[in-house]
């Protein structure tokens, strides 16, 4: 049984859970509301740094610290969302990408975040059960949210923005709402990640990380919670299995993504296709 129940497997499972939380947030922004975001890792980094720093500096309890990190990320998501969400499609995607790069450069240059060295010796608090209990609540929340009036409004924005506006939906408000909640999920995941890995540096949250999240979402299928879970498990476990061929890992990853786009663009479980 050691083959199945060892620290390595537990760690992979924990990271999988954290990634599902983060991609659930991205799913709300990109899958449900149809706003492509290429800067999701920035909110993850905000949550991670926020929780790590306040816990080290002020010795606040773990749960308070991750709650604060979640709220701060959500707030920053809202702040960013207000000006840029009137952009559409590609323009929104590159604006979020630019924002993520700016956040990375700021973390790289601030004193409190330790620059390129990052923050180390973060208290180890995230256990497997913590992650999965939070994840269960996260999935329940997302499921109910998508079925609610808000979720319906978000989906109508995805399907046709102009028609949604005609029906009296305040597009700007709903987009900011989706962005806020999505960013908060990313921040929560980031905080959990920081207390699992115990060491964070700005380069952990680069553009490739955002691409990874988008790939997980696309592989599983956009707008579907089952799809999110499947996509994250697939793209977290495959690299671990292919670790023996680690040099070819990224090439294979790219080819899988490419093949997916050509042969089944809506993902494994997706029913919808997002318009840009």
């Amino acid at each position: 049984m050691d083959f199945l129940f060892n620290d390595y497997v537990f760690q992979v499972m924990t990271i999988t859970g954290i990634n599902i939380i983060i991609v659930l947030g991205l799913n709300l922004i990109t899958g449900v509301t149809g706003q492509l975001s290429l800067g999701h890792s920035a909110f993850m980094s905000v949550g991670a740094y926020c929780s790590a720093i306040i816990m080290i500096k002020f010795a606040v309890p773990f749960y308070l610290s991750i709650t604060i990190a979640t709220i701060v990320s959500g707030f920053i998501g809202a702040l960013l969302g207000m000006p840029i969400l009137r952009l559409r499609g590609d323009y929104l995607a590159i604006a979020t990408l630019g924002f993520a790069e700016i956040v990375r450069v700021i973390f790289l240059n601030l004193k409190v975040t330790g620059g390129a060295l990052g923050v180390s010796s973060i208290p180890y608090e995230t256990t497997l059960s913590t992650v999965y209990i939070i994840l269960a609540f996260g999935i329940l929340f997302m499921y109910r949210f998508e079925k609610s009036r808000f979720g319906l409004a978000l989906r109508s924005i995805r399907e046709d923005e102009i028609a949604a506006e005609m029906m009296g939906i305040n597009i700007a408000r709903y987009k900011v709402l989706a962005f806020t909640i999505g960013s908060a999920f990313a921040g929560l995941g980031g905080a959990l990640y920081a207390h699992q890995i115990t060491f964070i540096a700005p380069d952990d949250f680069g553009f490739m990380k955002s691409v990874e999240f988008i790939s997980m979402l696309v592989l599983g299928g956009m707008g579907s919670i089952i799809g999110v879970i499947a996509g994250v498990i697939g793209l977290t476990v495959i690299p671990e299995v292919l670790r023996f061929a680690s040099e070819y890992r990224m090439v294979m990853y790219g080819i899988v993504l490419l093949a997916m786009m050509i042969f089944r663009p809506q993902g494994l479980f997706g029913k919808i296709r997002v318009n840009l």
């Binding site: 450069v105 240059n109 490419l258 786009m261 089944r264 296709r273």
Partner: protein, 355 residues
């Protein structure tokens, strides 16, 4: 003080003309396909390395380096278009093309991994097995409804496909030549001029004037020739252009070829200017050039040039007078600012959304 400013202005102009050369590839492809070609930055790096390889084989000749780099990059650009973007537009040949490319990739990866894990034959068999499994899974889950309606609203798929292609190419480069930086030879003789008390090297003058000449040639090609007319027609309305007897696939390939050619030349110029070439710069140069294209108004050729120069000058000035560590933040700050203030860029045309 005055001398510093002029010197920085010159530096900015050089960085800017490099950005402009790369940005032209982005802007032309975007003009026609409405697609951000994320693999373009990698094509630029491949161009730089092909030029380096040429100087190793044939000696330090600028012209041979440029020709060799251009041929390599153009072939790669056409390949990328054929494999990653055309199957998303038209489904007929995608399976055959993809299988052929898959087989090629397998043999290639097998060849590379033969010493590390298995011998060649086992390696080929192993990767063939992987390919076979992937093919079976894809066949099982393939979507029929999608094959019927490959309409224009698949742009997010094209975008992800472009990002995936970028990942594949950049990791292939890393696999083939290893992660180290390489010293680039000086391909232009070092001659210094003194213009009104400011020292200028021949290389600097050459880069600026060569880029300028290339851009003028491109402008003439697009605006005065028959191919250029066809390009503009496809960009304006792909279906209508098809009805007029233009083959859009050919025009799109031509556009990719020109973009890759300019990127390859930019790669050789960057290499010989900084005397060093790094495999990881592709992403950053690509993104910066993309910012330049957006700044000038994406889809517009003069816009890309102006945008590149503005971005280069502002960036270099920011590095000189504010702080070097915020270089990337300045560039992306410009991007967000221009997107909020005027999303269509300086020269972009404003299109109203139709209901």
């Amino acid at each position: 003080m005055f001398e510093t400013i002029v010197h920085q202005l010159l530096n900015g102009l050089i960085v800017g003309s490099i950005y402009a050369l790369i940005a032209l590839g982005y802007t032309m492809v975007y003009g026609i396909l409405r697609l951000i070609n994320f693999a373009h930055g990698e094509i630029f790096v491949v161009g730089a390395f092909a030029g380096l390889l040429a100087t190793m084989i044939f000696g330090d000749s600028f012209i041979i380096a440029i020709i060799f780099a251009s041929i390599t990059s153009v072939l790669l650009g056409l390949f990328v278009e054929r494999v990653a973007y055309r199957p998303l537009r038209d489904s007929k040949t995608s399976t055959i093309v993809f299988s052929a490319v898959g087989l090629f990739a397998i043999v290639f990866v097998a060849f590379l991994s033969q010493n590390t894990i298995f011998d060649l034959l086992t390696s080929i068999l192993f990767w063939l097995g992987v390919l076979f499994l992937v093919a079976i899974i894809l066949w099982l889950v393939r979507s029929k409804s999608y094959l019927k309606s490959r309409s224009s609203n698949s742009r997010i798929n094209a975008l992800i496909s472009a990002i995936a292609m970028g990942i594949v190419i950049s990791n292939m480069i890393a696999l083939i030549k290893g992660p180290d930086r390489e010293v680039y030879p000086k391909l232009i003789p070092e001659v210094m001029f003194n213009v009104f008390g400011i020292t200028v090297s021949l290389l600097q003058l050459f880069i600026i004037s060569f880029s300028f000449v290339l851009m003028v040639i491109l402008y003439i090609v697009v605006n005065k020739t028959k191919v250029g007319l066809a390009m503009r027609a496809v960009s304006y309305n792909l279906v209508a252009a098809k009805l007029m007897g233009i083959n859009p696939d050919k025009i799109i390939s031509f556009t990719f070829a020109i973009g890759s050619l300019l990127a390859a030349i930019a790669g050789v110029l960057v290499g010989t200017y900084y005397n060093i070439v790094d495999i990881n710069v592709g992403m950053m140069y690509g993104l910066k050039a993309f910012i330049a294209a957006v700044l000038g108004g994406i889809g517009s050729i003069p816009g890309a040039v102006i945008g590149g120069v503005i971005l280069g000058v502002v960036e270099v000035m920011g590095v000189a007078f504010i702080s070097p560590s915020y270089r990337d933040a300045i560039a992306f700050g410009i991007l967000i600012f221009i997107l909020i203030v005027k999303p269509t860029g300086l020269f972009g045309s404003n299109t109203k959304e139709k209901i």
